[in-house]
Amino acid sequence: MCTRHPGFLVSMAFQKLALVEDIPAGRTKFACAGDFPVILANWEGRIYALHGLCPHQNNPLEGAALWDNLIDCPYHHFMYDVRTGENYFPKNVYPQSYPKLQEQVRPLRTYPVELRENEVWVDLA
């Protein structure tokens, strides 16, 4: 299992992480670039790449469902927008007056994606 955090990332640049057919529309695929986790998602035919650990408790997003544009963490159902990495739920209902809660709903880091023929390349730099 790859569990490395973005803070540990040295320059990795573009990495080939999957084939396009591995990620059908409406699905996600968990991938490892070495020991660095990435979650790939196909929303409406476009493939997005985000960091593969949920910022809530650093659980891997392997097996995450995709509901429209939202990645759903399988552990506690925290949900993130694939386009921006922003937390949607529970940030949309958590009270602002608890700073500790706001720390739990930090965004997922997003990465640029390039399709090279039928291969998915992700810029992890």
Partner: protein
Amino acid sequence: MGKVARQVVEQAGVNVNVLLDKLLRAAGAEFTTFYYYTILRVNAIGFDGEGLKEIIEDARIEDRNHFEALTPRIYELGGALPRDIRGLADIAGCPDAYLPDNPLDMKKMLHVLVEAERCAVRTYTEICNMTFGKDHRTYDLALAILHEEVEHEAWFSEYLEEGPSGHFRRGAPGTSPYVRRFMSADIG
């Protein structure tokens, strides 16, 4: 634990440890939601809140019923509830349903409620998908809970004017029309 009860599920191709993790998270979410809905119900007052109070109570009691119905199945399959209740809260499979900053803002409260129910609907759909045709007893239980969670979502969604569902509130608070047959406790 039921030795054969677990064995038949394993032999049907279900990873019982993964299933137990999902059931424990679901039970944790039901228990914490029961707690948080108590706070929400207490605060549902005023012109808008009084009308909302009774359906929060239905959902609150039925979520407690779901916790009670899930627990025997967890032990049958060889699992156990965490000995420390804090451990149960930490693994709860849905975010906590906190009281909004302005407790008199019923629209905010409704959003808390409807999102909590949507999380529950996703949770039991996953368990049904995992057990369908393989673990008949867990599937039957998860489906019964799913029926009630879908109704809870509809109640709150209708309050937000998202469209009609055709459902109506319970005749008495929290009667759990689908889950009550799995309950060992008297629910009235």
